[in-house]
């Protein structure tokens, strides 16, 4: 199993632990991720809000770089990058007018033939849950988490083609496989405010607070995410939320790869568990006595 890997900007900065843990998990499972050389930013939300063509051209440039590596599929972890790459691909496949313009910009013909995958999809559908179970070193028994998917993994379904629109289950499936108990909660795909992190911080605080509250109410001890923006909003801003809304949440926000890494016996530090703002040590130590961070 060999894939072209597109980490995206966040995974090289605020979400370093996502990148670290993804690479570690992939390595442990024998999934080869080859970083696309000289990849560039996908443009994220600002691009599609400001310049439509740019929002297509940037992802396409990256896909073309991947295509040049050979016939790989692209794997990405960031939900926003995933959404942008998929959307660009969709346009290139279905909209001739935009395709021609974008081809002009990037200077190469491209008809959307390279497959864009999320690492979740690769783990569940290519590698397989059974296979994963066979590779576990230990099961993380007794941990209750809320699996949080956010907006861009499932919406819009005709573009993302990843998981169930209203009740996604890929992360839940993975968690169950490593012995973690996912709680049933209704906020799997609610919005955290994401791109407003800097600009409309108040909105982010409110929406993230609702999500934390719901997870807490349904009995989760932590939240598991697959998106760096969700993680940073819920983790980085948790203390501000506590202050503003007079709460005392203490919910570590994990990337799914981190917990899988633990179950594969990878050292917590290698998985970037030291980079969390809400420290997970207590929870993991108390539950499993294995993560010495």
């Amino acid at each position: 199993m060999k894939y072209a890997y597109y980490p995206g900007c966040s995974l090289h900065s605020t979400a370093k632990e996502y990148d670290l843990s993804t690479r570690e998990v992939a390595k442990a499972l024998g999934i080869e991720l080859i970083e696309i050389p000289d990849w560039i930013c996908c443009g994220a939300t600002p691009a599609h809000i400001t310049m439509h063509l740019l929002s297509l051209a940037l992802p396409v440039k990256n896909i073309i770089k991947a295509r040049a590596m050979g016939s790989y599929e692209i794997v990405t972890c960031c939900a926003a990058c995933f959404s942008r790459l998929k959307t660009a691909n969709y346009f290139m496949r279905t909209d001739d007018e935009h395709r021609q313009k974008v081809e002009q910009i990037v200077g190469e013909p491209y008809k959307g033939e390279v497959k864009v995958r999320h690492f979740l999809d690769v783990l569940v559908n290519d590698f397989g849950l059974k296979n994963l179970k066979g590779n576990l070193v230990k099961e993380l028994k007794g941990l209750k988490v809320a699996c949080y998917y956010g907006c861009l993994l499932t919406r819009p379904p005709e573009i993302t083609e990843l998981d169930d629109l209203e009740d996604p289950h890929l992360i839940d499936d993975l968690m169950r496989t490593i012995g973690v108990e996912p709680v049933q909660w209704p906020y799997k795909t609610e919005c955290c405010g994401a791109s407003f992190s800097l600009t409309k911080t108040d909105i982010v605080l409110k929406l993230s607070c609702d999500i934390l509250q719901m997870a807490y109410d349904e009995g989760a001890q932590a939240i598991v995410v697959a998106c760096p923006l969700c993680q940073s909003n819920l983790d980085l801003r948790q203390s501000t939320i506590n202050k503003k809304y007079k709460k005392d949440f203490n919910l570590p926000i994990f990337y799914f790869t981190q917990l899988i890494g633990l179950a594969l016996g990878i050292d917590g530090k290698k998985l970037g568990l030291d980079k969390h703002i809400v420290p997970p040590a207590a929870l993991l130590g108390e539950k499993d006595k294995l993560a010495k961070i």
Partner: protein, 215 residues
């Protein structure tokens, strides 16, 4: 609000170009309100999403482009994925923002989002990848919120979550090229980041706000 409806307003080029550019049939909307019902941010909006669509149907370009709503949309796509008439509401919001931006019609209280977008894109154009410290710093400086999130900064550095220097990639030329061509082909508005007048306006506005609050 009073709106004089006529032949011209109903068949305004606004509606036509919108339908052409986003490939969305606005007239399909039958105002069921499901978009507004599911929108996580409608509580902050001056018009609900369905009202924006209605106003577009009636050709109320100015009112729509100067609304807060279009800048409050988080592009979470909840509306799009649930619309029974298969209208891509989020895409329409994108379009409206782009149009408002090119027409210099951002509402006075809503400078952050367009400013952020501009800085973000300039940041990428410059470095190829996002340089987050640069982004935050520049944003705080230009939006007049100098000390925003400063409390979070030490922790971020400590955890090595934010680098002090931009990433080095060897293809900055290629990125600039993409920006240039996209701008040209898409006839997008691309102006200078440093606009002393705008900076001054922002600063004074913040100042006034602060004084108001003190009162």
């Amino acid at each position: 609000m009073k709106w004089f409806i006529s032949h011209e307003t109903i068949r305004s080029p606004f509606l036509k170009t919108l339908e052409k550019d986003c490939g969305e049939k606005i007239s399909h909307c039958y105002q069921c309100g499901k978009c507004s019902a599911g929108c996580p941010i409608s509580y902050q909006m001056d018009y609900l999403p369905n009202q924006i669509i209605r106003m577009v149907q009636l050709g109320m370009e100015e009112q729509v482009l100067s609304s807060k709503t279009i800048w409050l949309c988080a592009s979470c796509l909840t509306c799009t994925s649930r619309c029974p008439r298969q209208i891509n509401v989020a895409e329409i919001m994108d379009y409206l923002r782009r149009r408002a931006y090119t027409k210099h019609m951002t509402p006075p209280g809503e400078i952050e989002v367009p400013l952020f977008n501009k800085i973000f894109l300039r940041n990428i154009e410059l470095h190829g990848r996002l340089f987050e410290l640069g982004l935050i710093g520049m944003f705080n400086l230009l939006s007049g919120k100098f000390f925003k999130d400063v409390a979070l900064a030490p922790r971020m550095f400590l955890k090595r979550k934010i680098g002090l220097f931009p990433h080095k990639i060897n293809n900055s030329k290629e990125v600039k090229e993409i920006f240039k061509k996209s701008g040209k082909l898409g006839r997008a508005r691309r102006d200078k980041l440093w606009q002393p007048k705008l900076l001054f306006l922002n600063l004074s506005r913040k100042l006034i706000e602060r004084i108001e609050r003190l009162k």
